[in-house]
Symmetry: D2
Subunit: 346 residues, 4 copies
């Protein structure tokens, strides 16, 4: 941590800062510069509060942490890519994974039909929500346990591993029975009791970025899960909130290569929520692949006009098929191949 005193700071103010540091057991190195005195504090494991705590002291101009707040998630800690095995589907290597399915599980026909349609067209995981976080209490809130059972049927039919959302710690036990990957949605990225709870399981977790969360907060959220002992964490960029009203969110694709520098965890992109409009999904899926993402998660519905949620951003099976064709060429252009289900998986 580096503490910069203001030009007018008094010797007593410098002493107070150094004293407070020594009280906590840290050694402080004081440099008197041309205009300002700078205090360097060498060490690791400072309390996260430290910079702000010093920054408001009298005579202090700024205090800056120089080491990152996250450890287990950082590439410094683990230089090699984490590769997550979901029932034989590898996520994070030189394969590009496509997760697809409806926003919500609605009916048996809808989920089985969609699962088969996306499996036939190259998806290797099935998405579908049984517990839905909805902005309005008057919106469809998901089928709950009945939806989970239908996902189980769809998995049995197609062999596709399932990814589905959990919203509270109390749901983890029942969801764990049916899902292959826990999805934590954007509104729950900092639901710390939930993060702690899935950290105690062995199931892979896909942690979506909070729609107004910084990269560092996102990695710290993943750290909650990793610190609990669950190493199978993948990240998912799904758009952030900005001033632009025309799209549902602003898909921040530069986090893809940035995350590859900062962390060893795989990163998936969700162009459906990231744009909110089905006709933007294909170009943004291609862009995600070109940027180096480890995969995408997209919404597919047999009849988007009649979807119970998020219809506007859902692809039809035909649109999904069209996207997959160009996607494969772009994935290959970046030196990778589309993931396929191994016989063992099926």
């Amino acid at each position: 941590m580096i503490i910069v005193m203001s030009p007018s700071a008094s010797p007593e103010q410098v002493k107070h800062v150094v004293g407070r540091l020594e009280e906590d057991g840290w050694g402080a190195e004081v440099s008197h510069g041309a205009e300002r005195t700078v205090i360097g504090v060498i060490g690791t494991g400072f309390p996260p509060e430290y910079p702000d705590m010093f920054e408001v002291m009298d005579g202090v101009e700024s205090a800056t942490r120089i080491s990152k707040g996250y450890k287990l998630a950082s590439r410094d800690f683990k230089p090699t890519d984490t590769i997550i095995d979901v029932n034989g589907v590898k996520i994070g290597g030189d394969k590009f994974v496509v997760m697809a399915g409806p926003c919500s599980v609605e009916t048996r026909d809808q989920i089985l039909g969609t699962a088969q349609a996306v499996a036939d067209r190259g998806a290797t995981l099935l998405r579908g929500g049984a517990y839905k976080p909805r902005t309005s209490p008057y919106s469809f809130q998901g089928l709950g346990p009945e939806g989970l059972a239908l996902l189980g049927e769809a998995r049995a039919l197609t062999g596709l591993p399932v990814i589905t959302e959990i919203m509270e710690p109390g749901e983890v036990d029942i969801v764990e029975e049916y899902t292959d990957v826990f999805q934590i949605g954007t509104r729950n990225m900092q639901n710390f009791p939930l993060l702690r709870r899935v950290g105690q399981t062995n199931k892979p977790v896909m942690l979506k970025r909070g729609y107004a969360s910084t990269i560092e907060e996102w990695l710290l959220a993943s750290e909650y899960i990793l610190a609990g002992g669950n190493k199978n964490v993948m990240l998912c960029e799904r758009g952030i909130r900005t001033f632009e009203p025309m799209m549902r969110n602003t898909l921040d694709l530069a986090v893809v290569p940035m995350m590859h520098r900062l962390t060893h965890l795989p990163i998936i992109v969700d162009p459906s929520h990231g744009t909110g409009k089905w006709y933007l999904v294909k170009p943004m899926a291609l862009a995600a692949a070109a940027a180096g993402a480890d995969g995408i998660i997209v919404e597919v519905h047999p009849d988007p006009d009649h979807a119970w949620s998020d219809g506007p951003q859902a692809l039809t099976p035909a649109n999904f098929e069209d996207m997959m064709k160009t996607l494969e060429v772009v994935v290959n252009a970046t030196g990778r191949t589309l993931a396929v289900m191994t016989p063992a998986t099926v």
Copy 2:
């Protein structure tokens, strides 16, 4: 809902939209304008998904909901101010309430001493966290049940009703025993299982604005609680996230008079989290009062340099006292008076 077709929309596209509306039982009124065809759909209770669903149909330029998504929270529904009684302290009338206390409950001495200090200086509710949502897993996470018990002691000592945070549905039962107001923090504004759960209790709830939530989303979140049957909801503006790095958040005070137009629920302001720096708390508390807020919630700590969390934004008791003096003058200037504890309360 108003659906505007694009200038190049075909008659078939108009027909498709109208057909989809009629399929759901709505009557559509079609107006052919100079450039565009406009479809008005008269009625109430449209599914929240409706505008987006139509907006992506072929030939549609825009679809706009014209009625609000929230009902119980709106002033149309209930024109008179909601006044919440917390053990005799009235919130929402012509009184201005001051809630004060430390960010976290740390020790018996700290919480009892702070409670007495703020009670002596005009606070009428005691704040203090026992369950803490922290960005980093390596930060102090709160004392939990032990902290709740200490808050109970502080209430017994001073007579101050207590407000404390809950983070998950499973905590509601234990927190309910000790608190007089449930606080739902910014990261949990859209924790829908939690909103539903406190909606089933009779305790007042203070719902903080999500740090990137719109006014409409905030009112829809309050609607979850109201729809559950709990009518004692107050709102709390605590700053939103913007591009400005110098303050912790951007305190959006214009929501105070805007909320008074839109809703009957009281609105409180948190200048501590809203700025993140203790020296900005007093001017922003005064500004909140001038803008017409129903009260403030501020952090006070006997020794901010040694606080276990959020020290940078905590007032000392002396600073709190100084703030209270000017605050009273500004509150009076807006035709109101500071709330006091009634004998019945003590």
Copy 3:
């Protein structure tokens, strides 16, 4: 325009709104719905102020414009793609253009060397700033006319058409002598005197998006130029400002396919300013191509460590060459080819 009255609006308030509309010569169609009265105003050419003006009238809940504010820029007005010819280089068709060069013109050797290097590696326009908008008055402000002359030399040497920035109407005459495309930077997107002035010229203009401008504001800014008579406008996405501190800007690639729907104007992407870090330029350039952009503009410097401005985001010629190889594959994957200079150009 649609005006929605609040449920409690009085007949007099409705009458006032209708009267105000009729005063301006508009016919109003009043529909009395279940809860609300809605006033439809059919026509085109409403003053831009209209919705806001009505929205604050007593009894009005909302007022919404249903036609777009821009005309000449819209695809409704001109359904076919605008293709701009810059000395034989076509921008906007099935070719993908690469503009490259240093942030600032610094020395004769630097600009001639860079121009040759990017020409040799596939660029078809040369970028380079002679007038620089700099946040600090203590930063290098550009070489001015001397820089323009050096750009002229570089053009003569390589045959590359030149794109360079103008900052004020008074500079248009001199810059016009040396440049092939006027670049209007992000801070000047709403410099209306400048937009009007370049609208009077015949030179193509590249209009960068304001770093906090909406899509609609951006198209309205282009409308200033188009309305002046200059039809050769291309747009450039260069990142927007968000809460994320780790990148210089958030590159909003979804505007690429969105713009292709809304407007006939070509759209270029600037991954250098859009990220601020050279190691993010290649993946974002590939992503821009995959998303369907009509080209990119990137910063290249022979020695980024010693660049006088924006060194951190500059590619070396070697990095540029590496990017170009994969870029071509991605461009081809989207059914297009890299632009080349025609003999006539050289």
Copy 4:
């Protein structure tokens, strides 16, 4: 400047950084910590580009400037408040100034009538635009020179000094003849040629914050004017752009006390543009005073329904009078008094 090397940085990478610093004549102090090597560079006057330039070098984790980029604007440089004298009206002392008038000068009657109305009710400067920056080319663009002349008449009639907007360097001469304060609007905060040009005059300048500008960028923009020799600069907060659609802007009142810490320049608040709705102007004006602003600038129009621009945010003279009454009480509560025109002024 502090440069932090990543844990895996090689000795050669450290050497490269130090070499680059020494090449520019700086001394570097290298500290080898537990995990990271930190390079401190003591000195003043680093190029603004420095931190970013080092941050992208191999092996560097972060580079942080520890001294501010602005000098003349900082309170370190000039500890005492700047007080600006506008024809006898003092801005920046223990007086609170009220600037009022219409958005645009429309007609002789309108501007003379409004000027008299606001003078009679306690305003001490007259605002009014003759050159208008408008988002759409189809909006009213201001009366230009004719509007300036009308402002001159209004000044002669009422004795109120005038503040009006300039948009380009070429307008400075003519506007200077008629105005007492140059207003630089939000879209021109970083119009550097304009800043340089008004820096060469002796007239006071009110510099509005860019709607997406940080505090530091704003102070650097003021530095352009100060560095040109014009010391009479005041700042104006007028709201920033956020994700919230319900208000035109988000008025960031915490910048008021923050600016008082960082700079000696006076700070004015514009609650009209800051909210966009007339019914929010009074509470936000009171809040601005409570927060310690040196004054406000508000829009007043005799007939907002018929205003040629920004009617929705204009107060009627009656509403202005109502605001002034409470405003005086709040100003007094903060230990100050409303500015009055001295006989000399009139």
